[in-house]
């Protein structure tokens, strides 16, 4: 028994070595292996919006303030504060426009992405004890941008209103100090406290998921592809006529694919921390442990697919069909909580969901093993069950 185990392992290692030598001699394949994570990270990291993504947004400003009694103090104060905030954040690039229609035309032409209009009665309203209304012009064809700009400008205006109100309170009653004045204007102050210190971006959310996905997918797709390719070329027969345990073919190939996947995973990790400032809060060993566990939970599925796919083409097609729903339903790109309930239910049966979740907890929240026992249990159980199904199925398929 012990002897057989040893032979199984050494034969598996030989097969893994052979696969890796082939991989590293395939120049183009190797380039793709490195480029894939780079593209993936670059795409997700730069394209998806993050909190501070509003940078140098070109905005038109139409100041139509007619003044009140010869004074335009309302719009002057507003502009002064706006400019001061903008100098600090560099959020907007303001150009002047004549009126609302001119702004709308510029948006249609694509010259500016939105606009601010100060109506003619702005100072009049403020000085006569009414609210001054500001108009934000948005580009409806770009809802994402429009919402982001609307949100940001509203926040800025809100902040300006508060400052103005604070000053007004002091003006009414000079005995009140600035802090108390602020408390009168805005009694509630909201403070956001993350589980770990420092701000986190969308990227912190997505990086662990992408790592889990890349490693697990590369094993799940790599395994059937590699075996069905050898079946087609005929080299699989060379291994099949050797007096070795059939399992060593699967184990060896899995080892090689895992090494390939981990290589990509590490690349993603390096890119994420160098380019996007993602840091690992928890233990790095636990991160790799989780990746390996994720691989284990996926191997069975890969082996079952290998046994069913007659040729490489079929294998790839089955893979693609399975991969896409998994990518989007596992909460790698979008939080599972955003999905409708039935989608959430599907997401709960996908192992990738748990791997990505656990990895996120460890990497972003600095969780240890006690905090991720549920995920660990699910992954282990899934892996054991799938492997239990896969081994007899594979053995049967190989001697058809």
């Amino acid at each position: 028994m012990k002897m057989r185990g040893k032979a199984l392992m050494s034969n598996s290692l030989r097969i893994a070595w052979k696969d890796l030598v082939e991989l590293f001699r395939n120049r183009l394949g190797l380039v793709m292996l490195v480029l894939m994570p780079i593209f993936m990270m670059g795409m997700v990291g730069f394209i998806f919006p993050s909190n501070n993504s509003l940078n140098h947004v070109s905005v038109g400003l139409a100041n139509q303030d007619a003044g009140f009694g010869g004074s335009t103090v309302g719009s002057q104060v507003f502009l002064a504060i706006l400019n001061r905030i903008n100098d600090q954040t560099g959020m907007l690039e303001i150009s002047n426009a004549t009126n609302l229609d001119a702004l709308k035309e510029s948006v249609q032409k694509g010259e500016i992405q939105g606009g601010i209009v100060i109506p003619s009665n702005f100072t009049q309203c403020i000085l006569s004890g009414q609210q001054g209304t500001l108009i934000i012009v948005t580009d409806n064809s770009n809802p994402q941008m429009s919402a982001a700009m609307q949100g940001a400008l509203t926040a800025v205006f809100q902040q300006m209103s508060t400052m103005l109100a604070q000053q007004n309170v002091i003006a009414f009653n000079p005995a009140i100090n600035a802090t108390s004045a602020l408390a009168i204007v805005q009694p509630y102050n909201v403070k956001v406290e993350g589980v770990v210190t420092g701000h986190s971006s969308y990227f912190d959310f997505i990086a662990p998921g992408i790592m889990a996905m890349t490693v697990m997918m590369s094993v799940m797709t790599g395994l059937p592809a590699a075996i069905s390719q050898e079946k087609e070329v005929g080299t699989l027969d060379g291994m099949m006529v050797a007096p070795i345990n059939r399992l060593s073919i699967i184990v060896g190939k899995t080892l090689a694919q895992t090494a390939r996947g981990l290589l990509q995973g590490v690349l993603i990790l390096i890119l994420a921390s160098v380019l996007f400032g993602v840091s690992i809060q928890g233990s790095i060993l636990l991160v790799f442990g989780l990746l390996l566990l994720g691989v284990f939970s996926f191997v069975g599925l890969g082996v079952v697919l290998t046994s069913f796919a007659k040729d490489q083409e079929t294998a790839m097609m089955i893979m693609m069909t399975l991969m896409f729903p998994m990518m989007f339903l596992s909460g790698v790109f979008f939080p599972v909580q955003q999905m409708p309930w039935y989608m959430q239910d599907i997401s709960k049966i996908l192992p990738l969901t748990y791997a990505a979740d656990a990895l996120r907890k460890v990497m972003v929240l600095g969780a240890g093993i006690p905090q991720i026992t549920t995920e660990l249990t699910v992954l282990i159980v899934f892996g054991v069950v799938m492997t239990g199904i896969a081994v007899p199925v594979f053995k049967r398929a190989m001697t058809r």
Partner: protein, 344 residues
């Protein structure tokens, strides 16, 4: 009898769904024998080899190699055999030595033993100086040599060769043939070979089995097979006719005693006929058509004639090109007579 047979095949059957690829075959092979399996495409040759080399499980029946059952003691069988299939079992991105090392190590050979064996084999086929080159850069002939020495790593007592010279140039073909014979002579290796080249089978094989529709339809030495059809009152003629017309071919073909007529070139035709007086009736028919006979040759039957006589088909028509396995499977059954299942 059985105690000196290294391969014993009994009632071996393989079915893929409804299609019976190998139908209840039985034969024995003696140690040191070269046995040729001939048959048209799809006859079941490759399936026989795949079953005997433990790559495919038989549906029914048994076979033993060196006394070991091919199903129950498959790993024992694997230690005794080597297989050269029509596909190259070789990784293009590995060097010659790495390839041999990989496959050899799977047989559990020790480092020194394996290294020595690899040196010896590379030397044997004059590839030693290419040992560090990737196999992908090799010519087809070189690859096939590699393919064969790969099968010899474990010093097999039984070697299965599935179309070992398919697609090779004449020089490589001769080299490979010589090598096979040498192997048999010097190491007493038992060899089961499938080929569509009748000349090759005639030259190499001690005995020949003709397989058609999954059944062995004839099994004997080459000489006996030829004598059998000569004794069956068969006449084989080659006629050279100055004014050979399609009309003449049709006339001859219509004769009762004539089995097949084939036009060899613009002036030659070959006729297979049987029965007493066949010769006379053919000549009479040709004379009646006022054909101008230049020469007549009454030829000795070749293995090809035997094949034609037994299967009613020319081996060349069917076996020059193999239809890839995957294609067979995909259209399995739907092709009617054109493609009769998969493999050979």
């Amino acid at each position: 009898m059985d105690n000196e047979s290294i391969i014993v095949v009994r009632n071996l059957t393989k079915a893929f769904g409804d299609f019976v690829a190998v139908d209840n075959i039985a034969f024995d092979m003696k140690k040191g024998e070269i046995f040729g399996l001939l048959g048209p495409n799809g006859a079941g040759k490759s399936t026989v080899i795949r079953m005997l080399s433990t790559l495919t499980r038989p549906t029914k029946g048994t076979a033993t190699i060196g006394g070991f059952d091919i199903v129950k003691q498959d790993n024992e069988v694997r230690k005794l055999i080597g297989i050269v299939s029509e596909k190259m079992i070789m990784y293009n991105r590995l060097t010659a030595r790495e390839n041999l090392w990989f496959f050899g190590s799977l047989f559990g050979m020790q480092k020194e033993e394996l290294n020595g064996r690899i040196d010896e084999l590379l030397e044997l086929v004059q590839l030693a100086k290419w040992e560090k080159a990737q196999v992908g850069t090799f010519s087809t002939g070189m690859k096939q040599k590699m393919n064969i020495i790969r099968a010899l790593l474990n010093m097999p007592q039984v070697l299965f060769l599935d179309e070992p010279t398919l697609g090779l140039d004449p020089q490589s073909t001769v080299e490979i043939r010589e090598f096979i014979r040498k192997l048999n002579r010097e190491h007493d290796t038992t060899i089961l070979i499938t080929t569509h080249m009748m000349g090759e089978a005639d030259l190499l094989c001690d005995r020949i089995g003709i397989i058609d529709h999954g059944k062995i339809v004839a099994l004997d030495t080459s000489a006996n097979l030829k004598n059998a059809i000569a004794g069956a009152n068969t006449t084989i003629l080659t006629l050279e006719i100055a004014n050979l017309t399609p009309d003449l071919l049709t006339t001859v073909r219509a004769l009762k005693c004539v089995e097949t007529v084939s036009q060899e070139n613009s002036s030659h035709m070959k006729i297979h006929a049987h029965g007493d007086g066949a010769f006379d009736s053919i000549i009479d028919a040709i004379r009646a058509k006022k054909a101008n006979v230049v020469s007549i040759q009454n030829i000795q039957p070749t293995l090809e004639d035997v094949f034609l006589h037994i299967t009613g088909r020319e081996v060349r028509d069917t076996a020059d090109q193999k239809i890839p396995l995957a294609e067979h499977r995909r259209f399995g059954g739907g092709f009617g007579g054109a493609s009769r299942g998969r493999g050979q």
